[in-house]
Symmetry: C2
Subunit: 217 residues, 2 copies
DNA sequence: GATATGCCGTACCGTACGTTACGGTTCGGC
DNA sequence: GCCGAACCGTAACGTACGGTACGGCATATC
């Protein structure tokens, strides 16, 4: 478990200029891959290296700030679990699945995960923790209330929300993320994502939907 | 899709000494993470840097050779699809699931995937291709015959073997690999892996097992 | 025994990059 | 108009590392 980054404080009081610098770093990260040198960021952001070091401490600080800055922008409006019927539950799940597939297949996510994974290999794991906290765990935090509402309503049947979430996660993501991270060309069109989201949702309902019709004799 | 590495030729005619050097590189990669410098490999393998360059060309060559060397060691005996009944099919699937979980949670796999992902971020994607070809795609190549045998025998029901495989893959792996790659401590005990493999297999059978009993009225 | 081959150990080179330092410029406050 | 703070642009420093060169040793071949 990762508890080192319980809550990302986006209240870091970033000035507009600093946000612009981080945006530049982010663009550079996505476009150039690993060529995220301090010189390159300074040039791209039209600022001096001295300023980068004053604001962010060192390269790690800049990297962390960049990842957190992107994370702070990804916050998605949570879904309310009110007035739940099968149709709205299905729609919610499909929405989550579709959103998640769009996120993990985006250039930004791929670049961010790559740099965080590289970073995790070398001692300090803070970047990985940030990415995980704002990706997988944030998704779980938003989806679990929906699952539990579905269970209360009798639409879903599962013992543990965490386990149920992980099943849904697996059905949605499958091998997409690892293939993209490893450089596999795997272009997901809007239509393909929609189809995958619907399929994953139906499979999840088949596994955890409450048995309503006649069954097993 | 990745077609640049259709077949890994392990017939590279490695001498015993070269294998020992690659083993040293592999150990270093696993233990030290990203500190896989040419100097460190030479010291660990008790060989000269000049020899490394003569044998493997450059750093990329050494990395590629190391990854392929590890890949050549991972080959698992395929499962035959003869005399298939539900029990043996279930056992086969559980075995695949368990093996796969063991692989992706091993230090070696994590280190290898990390270096390949870092590499994929910087232009050349050969490492990622090798890892994918010997990981995900090799698994698919071994599992699909089993799935198709199950379908022929009437035990399984699915339209596309590739899609069915990806469903199984998702049910087995879920969020394990990305969490480990991002540095999340997530120790899978032997027992936990066994339980996960059984759960994933049952879920897969629930989705794609041929309907035998009375159903839907 | 002489010569050749292959490899170890190590010193060395060039470069890339993180980090620091500094002169010049802009800008808000008095 | 003047001051100081913040910042830009760039030069410079230190180091790490990929890659090369070379002397020495051990084994093989004749």
């Amino acid at each position: 478990m990762l508890h080192s980054v319980p809550e990302i404080d986006t209240s870091e009081a970033l000035t507009e200029r600093q946000k612009a610098v981080l945006d530049a770093a982010l663009r550079l990260l996505v476009e150039e891959g690993d060529q995220l040198t301090m010189t390159a960021v300074a040039r791209r952001a039209s600022c001096s290296k001295e300023t980068l070091y004053k604001w962010f401490g060192d390269r790690d600080g800049l990297l962390t700030a960049t990842v957190q800055w992107q994370a702070s922008k990804v916050r998605v409006a949570p879904v309310d679990g009110k007035g739940l019927d099968l149709a709205s539950l299905t729609a919610s799940l499909e929405r989550f699945a579709s959103d998640w597939l769009k996120v993990i297949s985006s250039d930004t996510s791929i670049a961010l995960n790559r740099v965080a994974i590289s970073h995790a290999g070398s001692g300090k794991d803070n970047l990985g923790a940030v990415v995980l906290e704002n990706g997988r765990f944030a998704l779980a935090k938003r989806l679990k209330p929906v699952l539990e509402a579905g269970r209360r309503t009798g639409l879903l049947d599962f013992a543990d929300a965490e386990t149920a979430f992980r099943t849904f996660f697996g059905l949605v993501a499958r091998d997409v993320q690892i293939r993209l991270l490893l450089g596999d060309r795997l272009e997901l069109t809007e239509a393909a994502i929609g189809g995958d989201a619907a399929r994953a949702t139906q499979q999840f309902l088949a596994l955890h939907g409450a048995k309503t019709g006649p069954q097993g004799l």
